[in-house]
């Protein structure tokens, strides 16, 4: 017998379970303005501290401080604020619509709105985003028609996906928003390939892709990073660490041992760790990585540290696995409140304006939902059956045609 304890395994467990006091002591948060900002052409080897730091710009009092404070026109900030508020109202309305049986499924992005709204405005026309399902604020920032979202969510005859895809797995290629898939992580590789094609064309367009903290455990995440690293692909690879993957806390994906941004180190990719609830920090980090990619210095891995305030989806009850007041204890605040405070501190916004905008957006969402309801909600006025037999191939072959006939669907 060895004079040692027997072997045992470590099983990561969340720091607080239901009924316990929320505990985020496992995360360390440097002060806003504290993180250094390396020049965009800095070799990766000279910034291996960055994945363990945290890029924060917005101070408690709403001021933008430190080297990462970006130069953003107040008008752009107001657009970002609008997109995040619209997303919040929209999510609430559609979540409620699920309870009313108007849709089969919904997922909210509450608390994470900045991680998609800011990149949407920081990227340039022609760039391509390969998003996750929790990024509708990207589309909101680009004035994507609410009707398209609502009709897909209600699965009526005007659904742009024609009844073939889940509610909220949108495709909006013309808005720089690639088709969403239910299979997590599958888009990282597509983004790298798209970026390689862009470079091959000698174009100046870049790709930006997202996965969640839980999804970093997928092989696709790692294979895509190999390609991005080997070819210096002009792509920004992002991990939205919202602390939870359904009911598994981020430690299950290996977040206890190191940061997700530090995953880049093994691939020689710069890793930035960013306050994901700080619109300005997200914007600045996106711009930094975008400039680096456009300067032909390749890919960057960014971790956005944020918190999933709502349940995973309409099928999930987070009170079963985490303290009910955990969201309120989240140390990085609310992205909407923080950007609002900043705009007010700049003298570019006011409580009265904010209230007026909230009323207007609330009404916009209500009107879009009503219009969608008039066209039909789940089970009413569905897309025509023939849609099942189209777009399987460019031209239907005898198999599609015959099955269409068997289903007695008119051509």
């Amino acid at each position: 017998m060895r004079n040692q304890p027997p072997l045992s395994l470590h099983i990561p467990a969340p720091h607080a379970r239901p009924g316990e006091k929320p505990d985020f002591s496992y995360l360390t948060f440097p002060e806003p303005g504290a993180a250094r900002r390396p020049h965009i052409l800095t070799p990766e080897a000279e910034m291996r501290d960055m994945p363990y730091s945290l890029i924060r710009v917005l101070a408690e009092d709403g001021r933008a401080i430190g080297p990462w404070a970006p130069h953003v026109a107040p008008e752009t900030l107001r657009r970002g604020l609008r997109a995040m508020m619209l997303t919040r109202f929209f999510d609430d309305r559609m979540f409620a619509a699920h309870h009313q049986g108007k849709t089969s499924f919904y997922m909210k992005s509450t608390g994470e709105e900045a991680t998609a709204a800011a990149p949407s405005l920081a990227l340039l026309p022609g760039d391509m985003c390969f998003p996750t399902y929790r990024m509708v604020s990207f589309l909101m920032a680009r004035d994507y028609p609410l009707a398209n979202l609502v009709n897909q969510i209600f699965s009526n005859a005007a659904d742009p996906m024609r009844g073939r895809q889940l509610p909220l797995l949108y495709s909006a290629r013309d808005y720089g928003f690639y088709s969403l898939a239910g299979n997590v992580g599958s888009r990282f590789g597509h983004a790298v390939g798209w970026a390689m094609a862009s470079a091959y064309k000698n174009d100046d367009k870049i790709a930006m892709a997202f996965v969640g903290d839980g999804t970093t455990a997928e092989g696709n995440f790692h294979e895509a990073m190999v390609f991005a690293s080997v070819y210096h692909a002009p792509v920004i690879l992002c991990v939205t660490n919202n602390q939870w993957a359904i009911s598994s806390y981020q430690g299950i994906a290996g977040g206890e041992e190191t940061t997700f941004a530090a995953r880049g180190i093994g691939y020689g990719l710069p890793g930035l760790r960013v306050d994901g609830n700080d619109f300005l920090a997200v914007y600045a980090a996106t711009q930094w990585a975008a400039e680096r990619a456009r300067a032909n210095h390749g890919a960057t891995l960014i971790e956005f540290v944020t918190y999933r305030v709502a349940g995973h989806s309409t099928n999930d009850d987070p009170s079963r696995y985490r303290p009910s007041d955990e969201a309120r204890a989240w140390p990085l605040g609310d992205p909407i409140e923080r950007l609002k405070a900043h705009l007010i501190a700049l003298g570019e916004w006011s409580e009265a304006q904010h209230e007026a905008l909230a009323r207007a957006l609330h009404e916009e969402v209500r009107a879009a939902a009503k219009a969608g309801e008039a066209l039909g909600t789940l089970g009413q006025n569905p897309p025509p059956k023939r849609e099942m037999f189209e777009h399987v191939f460019k031209t239907p072959d005898w198999r599609n045609l015959e099955q269409r006939r068997e289903c007695e669907v008119a051509p």
Binding site: P160, M161, S179, S186, H190, K394
Partner: protein, 327 residues
């Protein structure tokens, strides 16, 4: 090119890739070891391409998910990538990329996005490469809506199908057969429309439906049977998905007897589908039950003598046809 040349399958596919890349600057080639610095592919199918077309040919890391993922992404960026998966068994690694994404993107994006990629891969028994390097897995893909599957049996079709596959606006899986690689034959440099079978040999007594190397075995069986006074018709599917139902049914109706043969495992193989359709459509007109021949329900063994017993042979096919004719 209008003249006919003698080429083997490797040379024919190589020429097809050359011609497609010369004809369309959007055609790219990527995969493990495909560049000339890496010998132009393990079997030399991509030899000379990187020398001729430079950056358009890329030897990649050993990352099958990223290879197919990147091909999908590049196709979204306007290209027509030809991605190589070194051996067909390795296709299990990027299966999600192929069946959930490449095959479904057009449908599930409401028609916004299509994926004009070709996935080249090779396989086949006969080289003692064992059960993780020799499987025919066409049924996995024929079972998936949204991807086409092609498997040539000879150099002429290998050229023509490759050209057509690259021009197709949907994803195409192109299965090459290792043991047929070095058999020379005339190549006419004509594109072969996908979805069209070919009557490789006309006959009157029975029909064998086959693809890839099993066509070669069927033609050998036909020679033997001819000496016995049995006239065999051989239909080479060429495209497995969509398969050419009209040609198969016309032949089976004419001869009244059908044997469907493939190297892949018989159970749940494409032969089951084809045999079922022949039965459904020609019930009452057939002179014998439709038979299926396929590989053993076991992983392909390594040992040469064991491996030799795995897949149907010309003798097996001849025996099945005799059984049909005397039924």
């Amino acid at each position: 090119m209008s003249e006919v040349k003698q080429l083997n399958v490797v040379q024919a596919i190589n020429q097809a890739l050359h011609d497609a890349m010369a004809a369309d600057p959007k055609v790219l080639v990527l995969g493990e070891e495909v560049g000339d610095k890496q010998e132009g592919g393990v079997m030399g199918v991509t030899k000379g391409l990187s020398t001729a077309f430079g950056e358009r040919v890329r030897s990649t890391p050993i990352s099958e998910q990223a290879i197919i993922g990147a091909a999908i992404g590049a196709s979204l960026g306007g290209y027509r990538p030809v991605a190589e998966i070194m051996l067909m068994n390795f296709i299990a690694v990027p299966m999600d990329m192929i069946t959930n994404h490449a095959a479904k993107l057009r449908f599930m994006s409401g028609g916004q996005t299509n994926v004009p990629i070709v996935i080249r891969t090779m396989t086949g028994v006969g080289f003692s490469t064992g059960g993780q390097h020799s499987d025919y897995l066409e049924a996995w893909f024929a079972h998936t809506a949204g991807i086409k599957v092609v498997a040539p049996s000879n150099p002429d079709d290998a050229y023509g199908l490759m050209r057509a596959a690259i021009e197709d606006d949907d994803p195409v899986l192109f299965i090459e057969n290792l043991p047929t690689y070095w058999t020379p034959g005339p190549v006419s440099f004509q594109k072969v429309k996908l979805g069209q079978a070919k009557v490789a040999l006309e006959g009157t007594d029975a029909t064998v439906v086959a693809h890839s190397r099993m066509v070669v075995e069927a033609l050998a069986a036909a020679k033997t049977l001819a000496t016995e006074g049995i006239s065999l018709e051989v239909v080479d599917l060429r495209t497995i998905s969509p398969w050419d139902r009209a040609t198969v049914l016309a032949s089976a109706a004419k001869t009244g007897r059908a044997v469907v043969v493939h190297e892949a495992v018989k159970q749940f193989g494409i032969g089951a589908e084809i045999a079922a359709v022949i039965g459904e459509e020609l019930w009452g007109k057939l002179k014998a039950p439709v038979q299926r021949l396929g590989g053993a329900f076991a992983p392909v063994p390594f040992s040469r003598p064991l491996e030799a017993a795995f897949a149907p042979t010309a003798a097996d096919i001849a025996a099945a046809v005799r059984k049909a004719v005397t039924a």
